[in-house]
Symmetry: C2
Subunit: 351 residues, 2 copies
């Protein structure tokens, strides 16, 4: 971790970009120089980057971004599709960690949660960061899979406004204010398909031919890819937007090949990195957005035997910060794991 | 339906009681006289009962309530336990329709959703009204069961503040106002176990030994009893309180004995009484609290083949008004069905 790195962030003023800067502030990465790239609108402005000081935003440019050792993309899928490979191509390119869904289903691009498949990132210059819902769920599902061998996964989500970035959080806040002050009966909506304040919207991302949304299919596709479960592994998700700010919750039911011992399940989760077991019903402690917000660890609780699958099933509830584990933190942890195994140092050695 | 009835309501100032008065205003029951009973605090006050005019609240009294043909109890389980049988006992007693959970699991007391098991109410003077979550879910589950034979049910809920009555709704509104106005970082809570504004609480009613809450077990127990499914039928629920006012949503996955044809499933739901299929993803139409609130019908949508159970599985989403189908409306519909089959008329004939 001691090689000095030049780190670039594209999209640092968005919800995820801001959190990437925050995570870099606490990271073990040796950030020698932080460069922030933006559009012509933000170029020239000063971005408060915490311990890195005020940094002038540079107009994004392929060549300039290639000068970095690692570049975090916290921008749209279209931008990533257009630029990610140009930034990372060749031995002189930067390692790119992309937050969008642009390359997640490209077999040549690893999709990485470091606690699960860090090794997949090793020889790649372009790495995809998973969908937030998947990343949060897998922190609990992976250790359970290793111990009890999962047979299928059924999930219903309670997703925060932050999944739609700052504009989503602003729309929830402003709309809620208008409704509770009596200004409006029903809030206006531009970002979400319907008004979100005091409502529930079972629709995130666009609908697919099979009746599932793309958000729901992302959970299926990405779970299979990250955990190496094969293309037929049964995962089903109902993805629902609810009026919370930035932590996603998920109600998860799994059927297992091996019989489940609840105490062993709790223990394996307790031992898992990135997981905090919050499961003391005698003290009314369980995962909630209120407590998971701002935390690196995903809270896991309500752990109990499934009334449907009996000894071979488990039900539980998770809550995780969508912007951290669901985005920025995972991206920075990918970079840290690559720094540890030398994958960020190749270019530095040639400089 | 043409026999004039004296109808009593106990607890008319609560959230459910108010809706019972509202439903009676629109009911086909021939309400000759409406009597409203309350505690010593409300006795003597005038209750606005719509087309029935302003009605003076009478101090509750067993003998006076027995003068009614039918009495709706919208009060606590303790009150019901203490009084329901005293009101209904003997051929001179009133038929009692109880909204609490006091008698739901008593084998001698029918638990009724008229669209499913109206006949169970026929010869009983005391009828239990189901839990709101169960009542809403079963409007969709029962027709699907009749067509495809359900093998198991997995459910995650999105439950509104109204489940905790007016005080619950007030706490959500006041707390939300304090948070969005910047007065407080986190809202205060007295009614809910944790602050509800912008939060999610996976805990409704008290925890049982098996790690499920009583609210979750109510769904299991009541589904089995109402549908006559037997004591081992697998039903599993995760019950979650979210910051909405009065319509519950539910994400439901079922495994079926018979293969599911999605079009047939949609058709059987479309034909089912009390159900409104809201399922046009090309127009972003699906069940939501925003549209289900104030409606008698339960909205059902997001109907799709289960990615876990394949041809023998179905996933869907429902939203129903917790105070109407989940409480008041069901109770009034029970009375209507009893009036139709003559069960409310027995006493009238002897008067």
């Amino acid at each position: 971790m001691n090689t000095p790195l030049t780190v670039g962030v594209v999209g640092a003023t968005g919800a995820v970009g801001k959190e990437i800067i925050g995570c870099l502030n606490k990271s073990s990465l040796y950030v020698d120089k932080l460069r922030i790239f933006g559009s012509h609108r933000s170029a020239g402005t000063i971005c408060d980057a915490g311990k890195f000081g005020g940094i002038e935003v540079e107009m994004f440019d392929i060549e300039k971004s290639r000068e970095c050792d690692v570049v975090f993309l916290a921008v749209s899928g279209d931008f990533s599709l257009q630029n990610a490979k140009k930034i990372s191509d060749g031995c002189d390119g930067a390692v790119v960690i992309d937050n969008s869904s642009a390359f997640r289903y490209d077999n040549s691009v690893p999709l990485v949660i470091p606690e699960i498949n860090a090794k997949c990132a090793k020889s790649s210059k372009l790495i995809s960061n998973p969908n937030c819902t998947t990343a949060i769920a897998l922190m609990a599902l992976w250790p359970l899979h290793k111990m009890f061998k999962l047979k299928n996964i059924i999930m219903s989500t309670y997703q925060a406004a932050s999944g739609a970035g700052e504009p989503g959080m602003d729309e929830l806040q402003n709309g809620t204010r208008e409704v509770v002050s009596g200004l409006k009966q029903v809030a206006e909506n531009k970002i979400f398909v319907h008004p979100l304040p005091f409502n529930v919207i079972p629709h995130i991302d666009c609908f697919q031919e099979n009746g599932y949304t793309k958000e729901e299919m992302k959970v299926t596709w990405e779970t299979r890819k990250i955990c190496g479960l094969g293309d037929d592994f049964p995962v089903s998700c109902t993805a629902v937007r609810i009026p919370t700010y930035r932590a996603h919750s998920e109600s998860i039911v799994v059927q297992t090949e091996l019989p489940v011992d609840i105490n062993k399940a709790r223990q394996v989760l307790d031992d898992a990195p990135g997981v905090k077991v919050v499961d003391d019903i005698t003290k009314n402690m369980y995962p909630m957005p209120l407590t998971a917000t701002g935390q690196y660890d995903v809270e896991v609780g309500r752990i109990r035997k499934s009334l449907v699958f009996g000894d071979n099933g488990l039900e539980f509830f998770v809550a995780g910060d969508q912007l951290l584990r669901g985005a920025a933190l995972n991206a920075v942890l990918v970079a840290e794991s690559m720094a540890r195994n030398g994958s960020l140092n190749a270019k530095c050695a040639n400089k």
